[in-house]
């Protein structure tokens, strides 16, 4: 019968649980959900990874294509991230153009990539002003159960680690390009961004790594992205106000995640 109670009075249901210091899924307020990572499983992509944070699942696939650099940045390549929240992943989304949430998350991930400098765009340039790599980084969310950014960032790291680009030779005289598939090189990762999402329940309780249910019931959700113990970006789109001390505490909390994720990626790549 708890099922019925939950749908009829979700807030009350949660309040009763949280007053006992426990979340309905059995976690404590500051426990993460387990993270799973699987890399290189998609052969049609140049680099790929699937990350699961609890139920939340995000697939990241990277396709590399060739193009001409922009005139105002002749020695830079491109990274084009896009996060899809297809109707497949939750009943919240409808077919058609990307939802507002998908657009916001896409922008956030683009920001994380630029701010963290994890990829140096100059590494992607092949011949100045003539030829550069363009990495299409596409995220597809398969299961939308809260803290999607966290999963997306983990999958991004996994996918970037597996990207191997072939050797390209460019003949400026003939303007001809040749690609050698036999010689492939990985790209260099300059930093490791790690994101942690928090939710604020009724302006008081801060829940770490919330599920979708928690995100929708809570009065505020915010995401902290760290880059090797440095603050890289904080995303707090409105919601209930947060005391500065609280935020600092959360930043400290999220630092705990960095070693977890770096060891996760290391072990995944090894196996």
């Amino acid at each position: 019968m708890s099922d019925g109670y939950k749908t009829l009075h979700p807030v009350k249901y949660y309040r009763e649980f949280l007053s006992q210091g426990i979340r309905p899924d059995g976690r404590e307020f500051n426990t993460f959900r387990p993270i799973l990572l699987n890399v290189g499983s998609i052969n049609t992509a140049d680099g790929s990874a699937i990350a699961k944070v609890g139920n939340t699942t995000v697939v990241c696939g990277i396709k590399a294509e060739l193009c001409k650099p922009k005139p105002d940045a002749p020695d830079c390549g491109f990274v084009v991230p896009n996060l899809e929240l297809p109707p497949l992943c939750s009943a919240k989304f409808r077919p058609g153009p990307p939802s507002d949430q998908a657009q916001v998350l896409t922008q956030l991930i683009a920001e994380i990539i630029t701010n963290s400098n994890c990829i140096d765009l100059r590494d992607l340039c092949i011949v100045r002003d003539k030829l550069a790599w363009c990495l299409f980084v596409d995220f597809v969310c398969l299961d939308f159960d809260g803290a999607v950014v966290d999963a997306a960032v983990v999958s991004l790291l996994g996918a970037l680690k597996t990207v191997k680009l072939p050797l390209v030779e460019y003949d400026p005289a003939l303007e001809s390009t040749q690609v050698f598939l036999e010689e492939k090189k990985p790209i260099k990762l300059h930093s490791m961004p790690v994101s942690t999402t928090f939710a604020v329940f009724e302006d008081k309780i801060i829940l770490k790594d919330p599920t979708l249910e928690e995100e929708t019931l809570c009065s505020g959700v915010f995401t902290i992205v760290l880059k090797d113990d440095e603050l890289c970006c904080v995303h707090k789109p409105g919601g209930s106000p947060l005391a500065p001390e609280e935020l600092v505490k959360c930043i400290d909390e999220s630092k705990l995640r960095t070693p977890l994720i770096s060891s996760l990626i290391a072990t995944t790549l090894k196996s």
Binding site: N55, G61, L88, F136, Q178
Partner: protein, 280 residues
């Protein structure tokens, strides 16, 4: 093309690097000749052999029902949602509707796919809808539609039939009333070779006629079957095939569809048993 302001667009003229690789790979015709000569498919399967199927039901926790299917490298995920009101349809209808959406993930194919549904994806959606419509008891939910979404994560051939089989599983998983279990198989035809459950390379071989003296038949056939009632719910073909060869392909596909049924059944029983154990 209008600019898509809701996504991040890359530079305008990007080209896949595979266009500039040296063509030291065999051409498709050569590959076909080799397969014909050796009588061995590239993955050393028999011509009438289906790839191993791996299925996981309940892959999407947010959906009412879902299934993830793998045919070696082909990976498709399907989710099914609760009935909802049919948008823009105020009149009363005795039957419910199915809405199917088939989508390739941008990185799922050799060539990068765009985010907006293209003609092929729309066609596949229509075929999927067609195949599932005769499976689902539509009269059980008048005025409502059940949404079925399929996303191909990696396409290594036969993704449409994989999606249909998975959708059948996902519908059963969602507890949507169904008349039957549905299985679907693809076949590629090139001259006198029938490739059951072709890979992408084999599909490409069958896409165009290969130069030959007389026999120029080629094509792709997809057949979906309802098991208990022995009914074909969907049949789709293109290429250039004679009637006799087509009939032959129907009987082979029919047989292969039947072979898949126990596998689908196994996964469904597994799901039921798991639920039973959880409930008790």
């Amino acid at each position: 093309m209008p600019v898509d302001h809701k996504r991040i667009n890359g530079p305008e003229d990007t080209v896949p690097y595979s266009l500039y690789t040296k063509t030291n790979k065999q051409s498709l015709t050569e590959q076909y000749e080799e397969i014909r000569k050796t009588g061995q498919r590239t993955d050393s399967r028999a011509f009438s052999e289906h790839r191993k199927i791996f299925v996981r039901t309940g892959a999407v926790s947010q959906a009412k029902g879902s299934a993830y299917i793998e045919l070696d490298n082909t990976k498709v995920i399907v989710s099914v949602f609760d009935p909802r009101e049919i948008p823009n349809r105020p009149d009363y209808s005795l039957k419910g509707e199915l809405y199917c959406e088939f989508k390739f993930a941008p990185f799922s194919c050799h060539k990068r796919r765009l985010h907006v549904q293209d003609a092929e994806e729309k066609q596949h959606s229509a075929i999927m809808k067609r195949a599932l419509e005769s499976t689902v008891c539509l009269h059980e939910f008048p005025n409502f539609q059940v949404d079925v979404y399929a996303t191909v994560l990696e396409n290594d051939g036969s993704c449409l039939s994989a999606a249909i089989t998975a959708a059948g599983l996902a519908l059963a998983h969602a507890g949507v009333p169904m008349y039957d279990i549905i299985t679907s198989v693809t076949m590629g035809i090139q001259r006198d070779t029938f490739f059951v459950d072709p890979t992408v390379t084999e599909q490409n071989i069958c896409l165009y006629p290969r130069p030959s003296e007389s026999d120029t038949e080629h094509g792709i056939v997809v057949l979906s079957k309802l098991h208990t009632h022995d009914q074909v719910s969907q049949f789709y073909q293109f290429g250039n095939v004679s009637l006799d060869k087509l009939n032959e392909s129907i009987s082979i596909l029919d047989e292969t569809c039947r072979e898949l049924v126990p596998i689908v059944q196994k996964y469904l029983v597994k799901h039921v048993v798991k639920n039973l154990q959880r409930n008790t």
